[in-house]
Symmetry: C2
Subunit: 151 residues, 2 copies
């Protein structure tokens, strides 16, 4: 259901290096190295998401649903993944190995296709902080429309 069209075909860091870095993040966060976690990390390196737990279960046969949910929670807390909510009742997870650079998505409301928008163009956080008095602000920004194929 979640077809994802990647934006950056050439990765600057090798997959092996990313894998090691990811496993290290898990270790640092106090998580043990298990076969399932390795499988899931490798899976996300190839399919960076955003993916639902169902997407993941279908494409990594043999993994229990609960194991997936718990792994996703660990990965998020270790900083490997970030959770995304498109507002359709399903949680999605996306690879997040470059914390700094965040991006957003356009979701096709017809077919569910997801594309990445490279540059974040939301209002500067400093501006919102000044206007509202809030601090430590993060934001969630997603676009919805009809993809070229569905128009």
């Amino acid at each position: 259901m979640s077809k994802v069209h990647p934006h950056s075909p050439t990765a600057p860091e090798s997959r092996d290096s990313l894998f090691l870095r990811a496993m290290n993040l898990l270790k640092t966060a106090g998580y043990k190295k298990t076969i399932h976690r390795e499988t899931l990390v490798r899976f996300f390196l190839v399919n960076p998401g955003p993916l639902t737990s169902e997407d993941i279960q279908k494409r990594t046969k043999g993994l229990d649903k609960v194991t997936i949910y718990r792994s996703l929670a660990s990965f998020e807390s270790a900083g490997l993944l970030r959770k995304i909510d498109f507002g359709d009742g399903l949680l999605r997870y996306e690879l997040n190995l470059n914390d700094g650079e965040h991006h957003h998505h356009v979701i096709c409301t017809q077919c569910g296709r997801v594309d990445v928008i490279d540059h974040c163009e939301a209002s500067p956080v400093s501006h919102i902080e000044a206007q509202t008095g809030y601090r430590s602000i993060r934001h969630s920004l997603e676009f919805f429309g009809l993809c070229p194929q569905c128009q």
Copy 2:
């Protein structure tokens, strides 16, 4: 749970006029006038939201949960309300009697307070359309942080 701090203390249009306009939108959309719907419309005029179904049920005693859900759906389809998703598993609804001007929110991750951000500063839709080929784009943008009281 959803405390909302309004941004615009003075309404340009009288409450009675808004009420009539809202009921007219319902009528135009083919919905009948019922006591519950009138109650809910009046409630939203005083509490523009965003509010969860639980917020609404607590503050309009006597209304059945299912009636609320179905009314909210009618109101949304008639254009009175818009649905908002803060990503916490609860749907919220907000008065939407001025379709044109849309705004966003800052949500306190500690106490749940919600403030309004008047000006939308997301990337122009035309720019996203040109970049992605998507059409009929709408967007969802919410900010999360610590409100002044919770810092």
